[in-house]
């Protein structure tokens, strides 16, 4: 069983207050913000480990990200992945979801045969929820999104549960496949000091564009069919009025306000 987990390093949401919109370039300035594993990709990795525990095999984590994402991949190794590949090249910069999916698919082809590719349903930054299905399309295998459970059976089609409006559907599908998961699928395990020490011996390969076969033009900003014409802070009611003070003061202030408005 070979399982690949696509894992996107994202800026740690704990530090998002440091994110700034550069008014000139209309891009987000992330300098100084540490990276972390996209939250749902932790669930994807956990599910990969569970399938490996059930059926044996190897778990490889794959990221397309700048070279400073290495600590994020080390965390994935500590969490139990067997090895990691970081796709890093200037030409990948500015990829939209089609280009991201294309490059990831070629990296997966380079790794060889696989049974399962796991993704998160969506990231917390771009958050388009488009990469997993597009990756499956480039790989020419079935995919399911919004996955909330996987029953990986050794000698039968797998049973996969996917969330839909007002419920879920259960499908039978044969590997190889791409699945993208929702938070309800599992609770990621804790990392121990032992895990971190063990991860030191594991392989973290860094690949450039030369290491994969990119014969189609869908790479980087130039190869992306979508363009970001502008980036704005949305017009809203405006940010909420924040009630200051200790929890007791906040509670009192809100209750008084609700009282004045006749709600209590």
């Amino acid at each position: 069983m070979r399982i690949i987990v696509c894992l996107k390093p994202v800026p740690d949401p704990k530090h998002w207050n440091k994110l700034k919109l550069d008014p000139q370039t209309r891009t987000l300035v992330r300098t100084g913000i540490p990276g972390t594993i996209n939250p749902l990709d932790r669930n994807a990795l956990e599910e990969a480990l569970r399938v490996r525990e059930a059926l044996g095999g190897e778990v490889i984590v794959l990221s397309m990200a700048p070279p400073d994402a290495q600590p994020v991949l080390k965390e994935a190794l500590a969490r139990g992945a067997d090895r990691a590949v970081l796709l890093s090249d200037r030409v990948f910069a500015g990829s939209d979801t089609l280009a991201t999916a294309y490059v990831l698919s070629e990296a997966i082809r380079t790794l060889g045969d696989f049974d399962l590719v796991l993704c998160g349903d969506e990231t917390i930054d771009g958050g388009t929820a488009q990469v997993s299905a597009q990756l499956a399309e480039f790989l020419g295998v079935p995919n399911l999104m919004h996955v909330s459970s996987v029953d990986a059976r050794p000698d039968a089609p797998w049973l996969v549960r996917s969330q839909i409006e007002h419920g879920c559907m259960v499908v039978e599908v044969k590997p190889p496949m791409v699945l993208s998961v929702v938070k309800a699928i599992n609770e990621p395990r804790y990392v121990t000091l032992m895990n971190i020490l063990q991860a030191e011996g594991k392989e973290l390969a860094i690949w450039s564009a030369q290491d994969v076969n990119l014969s189609e033009p869908w790479v980087g900003l130039a190869g992306s069919p979508t363009q970001m014409a502008d980036l704005l802070t949305p017009e809203r009611k405006g940010r909420a009025e924040m009630l200051p003070g200790s929890p007791a003061n906040q509670a009192r202030a809100l209750a008084d306000r609700l009282h004045r408005l006749g709600f209590c």
């Binding site: 949401p13 998002w16 987000l28 939209d96 979801t97 917390i124 930054d125 771009g126 958050g127 388009t128 929820a129 488009q130 997993s132 299905a133 597009q134 499956a136 399309e137 295998v141 399911l144 999104m145 969330q163 839909i164 409006e165 007002h166 419920g167 879920c168 559907m169 259960v170 499908v171 039978e172 599908v173 938070k183 309800a184 869908w218 992306s224 069919p225 979508t226 363009q227 502008d230 980036l231 704005l232 949305p234 809203r236 009611k237 940010r239 909420a240 009025e241 009630l243 929890p247 007791a248 906040q250 509670a251 009192r252 809100l254 209750a255 008084d256 609700l258 009282h259 709600f263 209590c264």
Partner: protein, 340 residues
């Protein structure tokens, strides 16, 4: 296929087991508005099996054409045969733009289809515009809703977008003037790459929540079944109905019928208080214009703060019990006054 299709803007109108997703019709309304600016025509795309009644219904919304892919292999949604059916029609008739609802089905179908066609797709848009030269401009929320990107697709066609349900108003039925054009499909059983063995569906029945004037909703941040009591106590003090996001329902703290949002119910309260809720669009689309919206969340950057009027940054376990107490004090004072 001999028919000629004139429409340049296509809308995928999703149906599952004969149930039409409202967002498809919302998009028909918007497409007619956008296409009207350029004197373009609009087609609805229907995919499934035995679609007669639905075809009639969609025609009544004033589209110029309804393109129908009808095949027994399309009866149950599976992305590959759906992609094949639409791909064939797109290659033949070459629309300028293709819109889909950002539903469970739309968010699965659209990216695969766009990748097959090697064209661009903008994700769960909250606004659409069209330029005089026919460029579709989509407003795409990112970073948990704290930024809006304006996405265009200048070099490839069709320009594809998924759109959040509830963003555009449901149109009134218009004049029934359109033509029905079949999409020829050539599907093999192998194209159905997964087999749906079960669909569990629970239509949310009417509950007090839908008519409640005050809704207190709890999210994943509440943490445990025991602490869910904090949400219920707060609601009781306000005489409010209790709502939830998806995680508390999955965890069994709340009942499925309490889920607010795209997959659940829509509430129209005067006051909404969200406790330990991050503010995901899936949830927010189910809250229609409250007079006052309040959120309590320990994360100062939680997206929900961008949507509400009053925010409290804090641990709900510390804030909520005091809030419930203070509200009870007010209510008791009020009832004492009225007694006198």
């Amino acid at each position: 296929m001999i028919d000629h299709v004139d429409s340049k803007v296509w809308v995928f109108v999703e149906q599952r087991h004969g149930h039409v997703a409202e967002v498809g019709l919302e998009l028909v309304g918007k497409a007619l508005e956008l296409a009207g600016l350029l004197e373009w025509k609009v087609a609805a795309v229907l995919v499934g099996h035995q679609l007669g009644e639905i075809t009639e219904r969609v025609l009544s919304y004033g589209v110029d054409e309804v393109l129908v892919a009808d095949d027994p292999l399309l009866a149950e949604y599976c992305n590959e045969p759906y992609v094949k059916a639409i791909e064939g029609a797109v290659r033949l008739w070459q629309p300028e733009a293709l819109l889909l609802g950002a539903t469970a089905m739309g968010t699965d179908l659209a990216p695969r289809l766009a990748a097959r066609l090697r064209t661009g797709l903008s994700a769960h848009c909250i606004d659409l515009k069209i330029t005089p030269d026919g460029q579709l401009l989509s407003a795409v929320p990112g970073w948990g809703g704290s930024v809006l990107a304006q996405i265009s697709c200048p070099r490839t066609k069709p320009q594809c977008a998924t759109v959040m349900p509830g963003v555009f108003a449901m149109p009134e039925p218009g004049d029934n003037r359109g033509r029905v054009i079949p999409i020829e499909v050539h599907l093999q059983p192998e194209d159905v790459t997964y087999r749906v063995v079960e669909v569990k569906r629970e239509e949310a029945p009417k509950s007090g929540l839908q008519t409640a004037e005050i809704v207190v909703a709890g999210g994943w941040g509440v943490g445990t079944k025991a602490d869910w009591g904090l949400v219920e106590d707060l609601a009781a003090a306000l005489n409010a109905a209790v709502g939830a996001t998806r995680p508390p329902v999955d965890e069994g703290w709340a009942h499925e019928k309490q889920m607010i949002g795209q997959s659940g119910i829509t509430v129209r309260p005067k006051l909404y208080i969200g406790v330990g809720i991050s503010g995901h669009m899936h949830h927010l689309v189910g809250i229609k214009k409250p007079e006052l919206m309040v959120a309590i969340n320990s994360d100062p950057n939680a997206a929900i703060f961008d949507h509400c009027d009053i925010g409290i940054v804090g641990d709900l376990k510390e804030v909520v019990p005091g809030l419930t107490r203070a509200i009870r004090e007010h209510s008791e004072a009020v009832s004492k006054k009225t007694e006198r």
